[in-house]
Structures are given as C-alpha cells and as structure tokens.
Amino acid sequence: MDSFTLLPLTIDKVTNTVLCPSDTSPSSSELSTAITDLNTLHRSMLQFENAIPPPPGLVNPKRSAQINKLRESGNAAFRKQAFGEAIKLYSLALEMCLGRPHWEQSALVREESAMIYSNRAQANIASRSWAEGMCDAEMSCALKPKDNVKAWYRRALCLKEMGKLEDAREVLEMGCEWEAENQGKTDGDLRALLRDVHKAIEEKERVAGSAA
C-alpha cells in the first residue's frame, strides 16, 4: 500500500490555493469538490499561529460572546413584542452558531442551536407562524431531546394549531417520555396540553360521527 495516485494538482503562488484541472468527468468533479473543501479549510485555518487549529476543547470566545449577545437582544425584542425583529435576531444568532469552525466542539453547537431554535419557535408562535414554529421546535427537539420540555411543548402546540391532532399527540407522548425523569416537576404543561389534545380528538370524532 505504499503507492498513491499522483493527481494533476498545481498551486497558486500568490493566494496559496490548490488548483486542479477543470474538466467534466465524474471523477474530477469529486476531486474538485475535495479541493474546494481543502481550500476553505486552509483559509479558515490561517487565522491561527502556524495554521494549526486548536484542540476541540478550546473555542473562540469572541464568537460565543457574539452569539450570546444576539440571542439576548432577540430575547429583549421578544419581550418588547417585536416578534419579527426577534426572529431576525435569532436567525442571525443561529447563523453565527452554525458557522462555527468544524473543529470546535459539536456538542456546543448542539446546545446553543437547540436553545436558539427553541426561542425562535417561541417568537414564531407569538407571531402565529405555526408551520415555522413547528419546524424550529422540531429542530430543537432533534438537536437536544433531553431537558428540552419547552421545545416539545411548542412543537406540539404548533401541530395542534395546524389541526394535526394525531401528530401533536405523538409528539407530546414522546416529549413526556424524554421528560420521564423529571415527572411531575417540569412536564405539567406537556400533560395539560396532552389532555387538551385528547379532548380535541374526541370532539373531532364526535363532530365527524354526528355529521355522518
């Protein structure tokens, strides 16, 4: 295994970007995407001394601070009931969070983005964009299913508002399962909404029965 395929690569002397010949065969398209990836990675690594990315434990404090600031101002806008503004700020924070360099901890990205998604879901709910709220809450749940009662609640609420009662019930049951550890402490809202949904389903069935 001590051989390799010599690729027709060249390097730009000024910008130090790796170049590859551009033709359209399928193998070379793979190569060119790999080269593009390499060049982006190279550019993002240049900010460090000797271009060595730090170990995953060290994160860029500036970016964290910025994300936090954006989220805080989003929360402030939400409290002022400027929901459109809040959504915009949360989206910015989210962009910053997902734009973290890939060698930083993914757990951190998960944590942060789950929170921001949850907040944006709330802002969407407040401005009655049920579909968007549902999607944001679903993202939040997917990113962090545990200890995320609010996101489960918001997701179910949006589904209920959109008339997807069965889906709402499913989501609520799933949320209750994830929240089983803190049963009786934090899942009160979930259970109340679940009761509501059950009632609504019964009602719907009754209406359908009487209509038929």
């Binding site: 190569l31 790999a34 390499l38 000797n50 170990p55 009931q81 009655r128 968007e132």
Partner: protein, 269 residues
C-alpha cells in the same frame, strides 16, 4: 583426509535442509504477497490521501512549486478525518464479521481481506500522526490532538448534514401549511356568514388560520396596538377588509379570535 570425508555427509545434509526450507519460505511468502496484492481492497482508494501525498511530493517533480506548510496541514487534517472514519468502520464491523466468520457465513478470504484493511488503516494512522508531529512546532504538539480535531470535524459535518435535511423538511411543511391556509381562507371567504364559522368548534379554527396568514403578511409589528384594536372593534361588520388591510398585530386581533388569544397566552409563558 579421512576427517574431511566424514564431514561431507552432515554438511550436505544441513545444506539441503536449509536450502529446501529457504525455497519453501520464499515461495510461500511470494504466493501470500501475491494473494494479498490480488485481494480487492476493503476501502476504495482515498482521495484525501492522494491529495496530501501529491502535495507532499510536488517539490520532487520538475519545475517544483513551493507548497506552504499551512496547505499541507489542511490537507493532512482532511486526510486524518478520512482515516478516522475508516478506523471507525473497521472497529464497528470487526465484531459482527467475526461472528459471521464463526457461523461460516463469510469465507476466510473476506476475513483475510478485512485483517489486511485493518493493518493498512493502523499503518495510515501512524503515518498521519508522524506527519502531524513533523508539521507541528514546539509549542503545540499537533500529533496529540489532530485526531481529536478530525473526529470533531466528522461529527460536526454529520450534524450540519442532518440540519440541512431538516431544513428541507421544514420548507416542505411551511409550503404545505401556506397552501392549506390559502385554501381554507378562500373557502372561508367564499362562504357567507363569517362570524358563524368562527363560532363553530372545528378542530382548525379558520379565524386563527386567517389571522395567522395576515400577520405573516403584515410582518412587522408596530407599537400602535391600542389604536388598531379600536379600528377592529369599530368595524366588526366587515372583518375581511379589516383583517386584510390593517397591519394587525397578535395583540390587536383577540377581539375577533377569542380562542386564538387564549392559546397564544399559553404559548408565551
């Protein structure tokens, strides 16, 4: 003379024994190497590895370009992510493959192929670590954490892919909902007696749908809530117009959608 003659048979014996053993072993090894070489590789040829090695060997080619170390580092990091992914695959499939081998579901050649792949990957990991050591400086021993960084990059990339999928799904959802609310709205507008429709306890409150749509269109929220509420209250006879034209806010609408307001409050706590 007698002495020399007596020594010939044992020497001959030893020479023949050693010679036959050597021939056998060389033949055996050659065959084994041939078999190993003819074996299909477990993984397809790796592009990051080729790129890295090409960049590393470019100075050897005629008319050598200068490759800065930073480019090599980036290429090495890419290669490390590739190697680590393969190492994970190897580690995960070893147990199941062993079980299959014991049951007789897979042949010995597959197992041999697998073991070879494992060796190759181990060697490659060592190689990457050595190169990382060569590329690091005194302050930072890159070899110690290049694989940590690489593993984190893999999980991060997976996370981003998942998010991308979810994004597509959410777009579908919002399209579906837009279409549906549009339909509900048109039906709603076509029917007479708007107030009765609201009063009906259907699962989807058409009023909620309507206001939701209008508010999304309105987008920005003003501070003139009080004024707007008044405007709505004073024109209950033409709810369509007021909803359609006013920049109504979530706070301005409860007069027309009592159930909606209750829900909203619940959501905000």
């Amino acid at each position: 003379m007698i002495n020399l003659a007596t020594f010939i048979p044992p020497i001959l014996y030893i020479v023949i024994i050693v010679g036959s053993m050597a021939t056998f072993s060389s033949l055996y090894r050659k065959r084994k190497a041939q078999a190993a070489a003819s074996m299909e590789p477990w993984f397809p040829p790796s592009l990051p590895r080729d790129i890295y090695l090409t960049l590393l060997h470019l100075p050897d080619t005629p008319n050598p370009p200068k490759i800065p170390d930073s480019v090599l580092r980036a290429a090495l990091l890419r290669r490390a992510t590739d190697v680590i992914q393969k190492a994970i695959v190897i580690r995960q499939s070893k147990g199941p493959l062993q079980a299959l081998l014991q049951k007789g579901s897979v042949g010995d050649d597959t197992w041999a192929q697998f073991l070879q792949a494992e060796q190759t990957i181990d060697a490659e990991i060592k190689e990457v670590a050595e190169d990382a050591l060569a590329l690091s400086n005194q302050n930072q021993q890159w070899a110690q954490f290049i694989f940590q960084s690489a593993a984190e990059m893999i999980t991060n990339e997976r996370l981003r892919i998942k998010l991308e999928e979810q994004n597509i799904k959410s777009q579908e959802w919002s399209e579906w909902w837009n279409k549906r609310s549009e339909k509900v709205r048109s039906e709603f507008l076509a029917s007479e007696g708007v107030e009765e429709e609201i009063g009906k306890g259907t699962s989807v409150n058409p009023a909620a749908v309507l206001t939701g749509l209008v508010e999304r269109k309105a987008g920005n929220v003003s501070d003139e809530d009080g004024v707007l509420v008044e405007a709505e209250v004073t024109s209950p006879t033409s709810p369509r117009e007021s909803k359609g034209s006013n920049k109504s806010t979530p706070i301005a609408t409860p007069t027309s959608t009592p159930s909606g307001s209750v829900r909203k409050k619940k959501g905000r706590k």
